[in-house]
């Protein structure tokens, strides 16, 4: 399951999508909006996405993980639009037969998602706003 949504992410749906009888391990990563970035106080975030390409890039990451680890199922939901403090921006879950590979695959997928998937976030803080990572 790959989902880009402007609504609150349904964690139970993501977890339900990776249930697998041969799986003994599910590792999940949830990225949430923090109240602080360095010294600035974040008010909210705005996410935007090049959706058709984002879905293809996420699928590539899943395909790659399946070659590298015995992945049984993966589900990813990424939220876009305006997010408030504490909101969940991404929920990624993977099920594998054993525990170690679930952590490795989950961490690989979220690390790669942050590097290759065309999604952008703008931080709105007191006194300004900034596209994250845009500038050197």
């Amino acid at each position: 399951m790959i989902e880009i949504t402007s609504n609150k992410i349904d964690r139970e749906k993501v977890l339900g999508a990776v249930a697998h009888l041969e799986g003994g391990a599910i590792c999940t990563f949830i990225g949430t909006v923090r109240s602080k970035t360095a010294d600035k106080k974040v008010l909210r975030l705005e996410y935007e996405c090049y959706e058709p390409m984002a879905i293809q890039e996420i699928q590539k990451i899943i395909d790659f993980a399946k070659v590298k680890w015995p992945v049984l199922a993966v589900a990813v939901s990424h939220r876009v639009g305006t997010l408030q403090l504490g909101d969940e921006a991404v929920v990624l879950a993977v099920s594998t037969p054993h525990r170690k590979e679930s952590f490795e695959a989950c961490q690989f997928m979220i690390d790669t998602l942050k590097q290759t998937v065309p999604i952008w976030k703008k931080e709105i803080f007191e006194g300004g706003e900034e596209w994250v990572s845009a500038h050197p």
Binding site: Y50, P52, H78, K114, P118, I119, W120, K122, W131, H135
Partner: protein, 79 residues
């Protein structure tokens, strides 16, 4: 060749619009990049600027057609 370019994030702010039309001299991604930076010098301030053609990251040598779906991909920051 006249190309329609989708823009996102910091690049969109620098170019002042979600979709811009630009005329380039040349036929490949590298030519497009040069024209873009000449037209919108602020783009040179980005940490990186990738170009996607038909929803795939493209090499500088890739040839372009007017019917291609082209997008500017400034540094991503999902998750």
């Amino acid at each position: 060749m006249e190309l329609k370019i989708k823009t996102f994030g910091a690049a969109r702010d620098m170019m002042g619009g979600k979709e811009v039309v630009i005329k380039i001299n040349g036929t490949n991604v590298c030519d497009l990049r040069k024209t873009l930076v000449a037209t919108y010098p602020a783009l040179a301030d980005l940490r990186s600027l990738l170009i996607a053609v038909n929803q795939q990251y493209a090499e500088d040598s890739q040839q372009l057609k007017e019917t291609d779906e082209i997008a500017l991909i400034p540094p991503v920051s999902g998750g």
